[in-house]
Symmetry: C2
Subunit: 678 residues, 2 copies
């Protein structure tokens, strides 16, 4: 931008509402309703490296004058850059830019009255009406000269030249030049911007690394990782499992808490209130004589073993995600060393976790309202940074909605300040506004209601909400078909077909997904009792011997799904998600598109019956022009089909393939070998 286009920037008023805006009364353009913008600027918007940030705003001025609008943006410490914004409809403007660096980014919207564009537009109408435009050309010359005064070198000379031409007697030629593209381009770039409107404060955008947006999680319990049945697994055993996890294509390995487990009130198998001798207890009942949150369960290994596991995983392209469960067993060292961090009952005992009338006597929650809350916060930050120091850059946080919001906002900010690449996953299965608040205040990703959304209508409604503003600007869903706490009914009764369908759904609907294995790929489907979502013989309370080499394991499917995800950038974003209407309420159909990469998915959510349906394809969402043929390449079976038009009949047999995952290619880009499908 040359010096000609200096913006006489004028800030939107910070006066109290209803009072005269201070400063420059000639600032005529209004800018409103900027997106992205989270809670009026209270929270930053979220993006990740490699994403396009699309900015929209309402912009208009009084009268008929044309305006110019641009988005200004910069990385932290970087120079302001600018991208044009173009009008959509109804005074809404849009522009975009790409973000490349992790950390803070700022954006603002600037707008100004474009007198040259106004003049040019008016001139066109006058000429078309056959009016005498002699004086209008002189007005145009004045505008061009004003720009020329602020321009140097060749640009300045060009502008002076144009202005002179507009003043000449060669009326028809002057009109042609006046309306020509060269002068328009020059004036767009070098025309002065007077009395610019700008946002009172820039919009802050926090840009995460790519893995925040695109990650494939595998959860396993180290206690069961031993190849010898009955022997407590170790972190070394987990190292041995890395190869198979990498082969399945996962890039995040999430471990439940690896700390010592309390003995007082230890839970027994199947959540029995009393543990039998030798029962392992729950990894979330943290702390014992062996140590607390900065120690490793002696049966798992040592802190050094953990650090070694992290390095070994990294060597295979896998990150270890650690569980932050900020609560204590009654045996935790904190209970003895910092009784002030817990609530004390009048009978002298410490308040255990409760959801009356239920009691969880193996857990003492922290009392975040205690007088020494600052010391508590600092200690929990110290713990987090300790594990970060061991190489952990992803934290899955247990039940964050049971700890204060300001605590998380502070802790996450403190960690990201030291390492902007750290990611936090919120495990908060709770009310929607609470879940959204946690995302706003800093959680990178969030578990969702996915596990309980298995009918096409609610999948569509929910995922539309999650992938469009406002939620899409601060909430990143991570879809899990199962977790150690959640064995949904459809997996209990649906058999293999249900597991396949749910895996396809999670892996394609959501750029972040995860499974709790090997329970998932071995299709563990037994609930603790009828009507419960708890697993029978839950690994939370005992060791499990998993036959991971079982022939019918869904491991190959998981591998293929992750391979498809890695090979198709459309599945690495959530923003391009579109649903397509199907006339069968058991079938859900959606597509994702990024540039030329287009994926179309159809899933039969009924695990018991073949379902047929006609899809009304949104061809525009697929990048297909009307009348253009296209290829559907089924990435799960490798079958290819040629198709044309917007009506596609699908038949999905749960016994063979309850889902299609198609790559869509318009015909002039497909390979030569294809087969017809009717």
């Amino acid at each position: 931008m040359s010096s000609a286009a200096t913006a006489e920037a004028s800030r939107v008023s910070s006066a109290r509402p209803g009072e005269r805006p201070k400063g420059e009364g000639r600032v005529r353009v209004v800018v409103e309703n900027v997106v992205p913008h989270v809670d009026g600027g209270r929270f930053p918007a979220k993006r990740s490296v490699g994403e396009i940030v699309r900015v929209e705003a309402d912009a208009f001025t009084d009268g008929h004058d044309k305006i110019g609008v641009a988005v200004r943006h910069r990385g932290e410490g970087g120079p302001w850059q600018e991208a044009d914004m173009s009008p959509l409809v109804n005074d809404r403007w849009a522009g975009e830019f790409e973000v490349y660096a992790v950390g803070w980014h700022e954006l603002s919207v600037v707008a100004w009255v474009d007198h040259f564009a106004t003049w040019r537009n008016d001139l066109q109408k006058r000429v078309a009406a056959g009016q005498n435009v002699a004086v209008d050309l002189l007005i145009g010359a004045e505008l061009v000269e004003e720009a020329a005064k602020g321009a140097d070198g060749e640009v300045g000379r060009s502008l002076w030249g144009f202005a002179a031409f507009l003043r000449s007697e060669l009326r028809a030629e002057a009109v042609e030049v006046a309306l020509g593209g060269s002068l328009q381009a020059l004036m767009r770039r070098y025309g002065p911007r007077k009395y610019t409107t700008e946002l009172e404060a820039p919009v802050r955008v926090w840009v995460d690394r790519t893995r925040a947006r695109f990650s494939s999680w595998y959860e396993l319990f180290p206690r069961s990782a031993s190849p010898e049945p009955g022997r407590h697994g170790t972190l070394r055993d987990v190292e041995e499992r890395l190869a198979s996890i990498a082969a399945m294509g996962f890039d995040v390995l999430y471990l439940p808490p690896v700390h010592p487990i309390g003995r007082a009130f230890r839970k027994g198998r199947n959540n029995s209130p009393v543990a039998a001798p030798g029962d392992a207890g729950s990894p979330w009942a943290i702390g014992g004589p062996e140590g607390g949150h900065d120690a490793v369960h002696p049966e798992l290994g040592t802190v050094e073993d953990f650090a070694r596991l992290v390095r070994a995983a990294n060597d295979r392209g896998i990150e270890i995600a650690m569980d932050l469960a900020f609560q204590c067993s009654p045996d935790h060292p904190y209970v003895r060393e910092h009784p002030e961090w817990f609530r004390h009952r009048p009978d002298g005992t410490i308040q255990y976790a409760e959801n009356p009338p239920k009691k969880y006597q193996d857990i003492y929650p922290f009392d975040f309202e205690c007088a020494q809350w600052e010391a508590l916060w600092n200690e929990l930050l110290r713990v987090t940074l300790f594990w970060h120091g061991q190489g952990v850059r992803i934290f899955r946080v247990d039940n964050p909605h049971t700890k204060p919001f300001p605590f998380w906002e502070w802790l996450i900010a403190e960690v990201k300040r030291r390492d902007p690449g750290v990611l936090f996953l919120a495990e908060a299965f709770t009310r929607p506004k609470v879940m959204y608040r946690l995302a706003k205040l800093g959680f990178t990703q969030s578990y969702t209601y996915f596990a309980w959304r298995n009918d096409p209508w609610s999948i569509r409604q929910y995922y539309t909400e999650l992938t469009t503003p406002p939620a899409a600007d601060f909430f990143r869903p991570n879809a899990w078909p199962n977790t150690p706490d959640i064995l949904p009914e459809h997996l209990q009764h649906g058999g293999r077909a249900a597991f396949v369908a749910r895996a396809v759904l999670a892996a394609t609907l959501c750029a972040n997904w995860g499974v709790y294995g090997p329970a998932f790929e071995l299709m563990e489907s037994r609930p603790a009792k009828a009507g419960s979502e708890e697993y029978q013989d839950s690994e939370k309370y005992q060791l499990r011997a998993w036959d991971i080499g079982r022939r019918d394991s869904l491991g190959d499917l998981l591998a293929r799904l992750n391979e498809v995800r890695r090979g198709n950038v459309a599945l690495q974003h959530d923003r391009g998600l579109r649903f397509h209407n199907v006339d069968n309420p058991s079938i859900v159909c959606y597509s994702k598109a990024q540039g030329e990469n287009v994926i179309l998915v159809a899933v039969n959510t009924d695990p018991h019956h073949t379902q047929w349906g006609t899809i009304d394809l949104d061809l525009a969402a697929l990048g297909v022009r009307a009348g253009q043929a296209f290829q559907l390449h089924d990435l799960l079976t490798d079958a290819r089909y040629r198709w044309e038009g917007n009506r596609a009949v699908v038949g999905l047999d749960p016994g063979t393939s309850p889902a299609h995952v198609f790559r869509v290619r318009p015909h002039d880009r497909t390979e030569s070998d294809f087969e017809y499908f009717l």
Copy 2:
């Protein structure tokens, strides 16, 4: 509120997003998404005297604790008052208060963790589960004692007493007291509020006088007010018309500009570019040798005549609304005295109004970008205050969207600062966001798209948008079936039935309405030419001789409609508007309710054919219980009908009565004489 309930208020952070909230980390409650709130606080919300301000907010905390939420509010300089807020659903809370005084009002939302309510709720569950609650009672005693410490006199003694009881051995009785209403009420009022969340800044609400919300406008051209055909009307003649206008029930009399009219380029009859000798010209081409914006057209009278008219009108309960048209004819004194306020073309002439290729050479717009913009603003304010000094407290502003927004925001604020009871009506028939911006920045009322909404579906869609948040919090619609610029097609071709239907619609849909008369009640329907919305022989360009005593005048209908409006408070608000489904797309049905006053309207929008339809009445909106009979009293015909159930068949014959305006009374409140309708 006793001293016990001192709020240790803690402001929501003003830190930059993503940084640690400063101050008190124990503030656990989140308050979000407060309504009303206009553009994040950039503009005040609007209410009027006599309105209930309903405040909603999302509020929640971590974990399971109960919270308390209240709305605090105060008038300017007044003490803070508080009203409880109650939970709706999904973490949304609502409360309300009434506003009584014109001017600034503030509101805030406060929220805190209610430990006693939490404890009480938990106790209920434990007792129901048959658990031993000995320790829980002691915890409760501690909570009550904490409150007692901060309470004086009887309250303090009561609380100490309750606490002691909770500590006693009388377990069952203690439980009864613990769960009893007395203790609950005391603790709700005197329980301590620790670590309170409050909005970072209060929400400002501008409260107008009642007329802002409820007004009935009549527009006439003084030039045609003379009873002698051909003689130019005077302000004295207008005085003589006051009785008939008051008889029709109008309380605002709006006059087009009363200033001298320019001679240069004066428009002739029917917008002819050249005036014939004696042609009156357009009142909006303001200014001549006789003066400008602070003068009165000599043929109308003098400034003293104007002030007299204002007083005479006030004596009849009518306010004069003046037209502020900030533009000049070429003859305006400003052109000679302040050439710097206009844009000059290179040929030395002054830039006239244009919308290329159209030229309006009888109008010079101000150049609000001129260097002396501040002097221009000050002069226009001086003019406005001059007329305010003559008694004008309502201004209808001509085309405000062609002058800068910051100018209006400033001028309106300056006037309201001197007199908070001044009202401004924006005549901006333009794009929706521009219209909304003008309302936000201070216009009290706004013309709408009403004139072009004559089919039930679009009436419903548009008026739902206008009467619900966000628009309802800053935009007050004023519905005009016709204006001097707008003779809609349906009035050109629909005959009397169309005029009747449109009057009923405007007068009942909208608490503010207006008509351009006598063109309306005399059903003037001739357009300037086919397809135009301009009047033939428009009063804008000539005198008209109106036969206001004509027997078929709709004056009686207007009088009855205004009488119904005055007698039914539901029609004096827009917030209670609800639409009812009708199975005939030509019929629109809606109700308005305020307390026990309920009005139900059905209008046939087809002026040519009788239309029958079945209405699916929303009985709850009508204040009728299921199974309860109710009376429908037609306020236009005085017929009464007894009805039951939600299905009502209506037949509307445009020839006799294209509309019903019913007062709805549930049966146990009706008078004894009624007749059955089947």
